[in-house]
Assembly symmetry: C2
Homo-oligomer: 218 residues x 2
């Protein structure tokens, strides 16, 4: 059983409709494999787009920040847009016009909600930590009350979202294919983790734990 | 000689000030090494953040799209925010609270300008193409008049921008360092290009040109 994204007019894809996805599983897939989202807010009538970590629990995405951050103090109840993008490949076509990217992106529109419930805040911080650094909620020291007091948690509901993907080779004009003489194809791109760099405050031969090494080889 | 970013109040960094950069060379560095930007606009009073390719010429960044795209038809003269982010590493601290990312980001605020001059549009399309696929402006067929007519080009001035970077190991509380027993360090992450996939409409042993192979090994 697939669950529709239940798009509204403003999340209905109007360009390149064949790239649209309408299943919530696609939305979760894009969100769960990202490291950073781009969060858009409106400040003094103009947009501001900031990169930040995030985490998902069910149909809510959480972001966090210092209670001192200006934008987090004005965000409660205001419209936000949270976008996550993965670039999967550079699409080289015979023509410049048909050059493109293979990508997966999710665009979420919602009114932000500052989370005040202690349990929801705790669970959100776990989700944000685990999205960034799987295994760290277990391995690292969890937040002190003083650290919690300095942290704002924002919830963004997933009920209004759109997902777009492009996959596959370039799509060229027939005349350019017939003419020949030009290479076309895809150069795949992915995030690669290199070997872990142990903190200089630890012995250089300190064993890197499995939850980190597992990722480096992934 | 370094040239300052000439930040205004709204691009003055208030949080984690030590992460701020104030030289235009840092701004160019962040912009010139990216594949995708996140462009924020305001639509019906709320923010919308869309991923798109881009290119830079001097102190202007250009984006393009179909003239049929809704957002490009309303963007002229309106405030936009263009953000480019590179994630360079996952920072594992002894505490969840001090977990972080190493990153470089640029946030540009400007009123968008629809480009109508034919020469500026042509040069912008070259810059956007070369940012995405270096060498393709030379190798691929350049735009036909009909393709040009279907393409909107938007200019975003770089006079108001901020750049933030985090580098280096985790910064832990002294008490957590003394207590010991927990690994801390950085897991570097970078975009990796894999081997080029030649378009199925070409012979599978078609030679991949140097401007593509050079990148795959980069």
């Amino acid at each position: 059983m697939t669950q529709p994204l239940s798009t509204t007019a403003r999340t209905t894809i109007t360009r390149d409709r064949e790239r649209g996805r309408t299943d919530r599983a696609d939305l979760y897939g894009v969100l769960d494999s990202g490291l950073v989202c781009h969060l858009g807010i409106v400040r003094d009538g103009g947009p501001v787009v900031l990169p930040t970590g995030y985490g998902r629990i069910g149909d809510t995405v959480y972001v966090h920040g210092s209670t001192g951050a200006g934008y987090l103090r004005i965000i409660d109840g205001t419209p936000v847009c949270l976008t996550v993008t993965h670039v999967d490949g550079i699409v080289y076509a015979r023509s410049v016009f048909h050059h493109s990217m293979n990508y997966r992106s999710a665009v979420v529109l919602a009114d932000a909600r500052v989370v005040r419930d202690a349990d929801e805040r705790w669970n959100a911080l776990e989700a944000i930590t685990e999205q960034l650094a799987p295994g760290s909620w277990e391995h690292a020291r969890r937040p002190h009350p003083k650290e919690l007091a300095a942290t704002a948690v924002i919830a963004i509901d997933l009920s209004e979202a759109s997902v777009k993907m492009r996959v596959g080779p370039p799509v060229d004009d027939a005349a350019d294919v017939e003419e020949g003489g030009r290479w076309a194809g895809v150069l795949p791109v992915r995030p690669a983790f290199d070997g872990a760099q142990t903190c200089p405050t630890l012995p250089s031969d300190e064993k890197v734990p499995a939850h980190v090494t597992a990722r480096a080889s992934g």
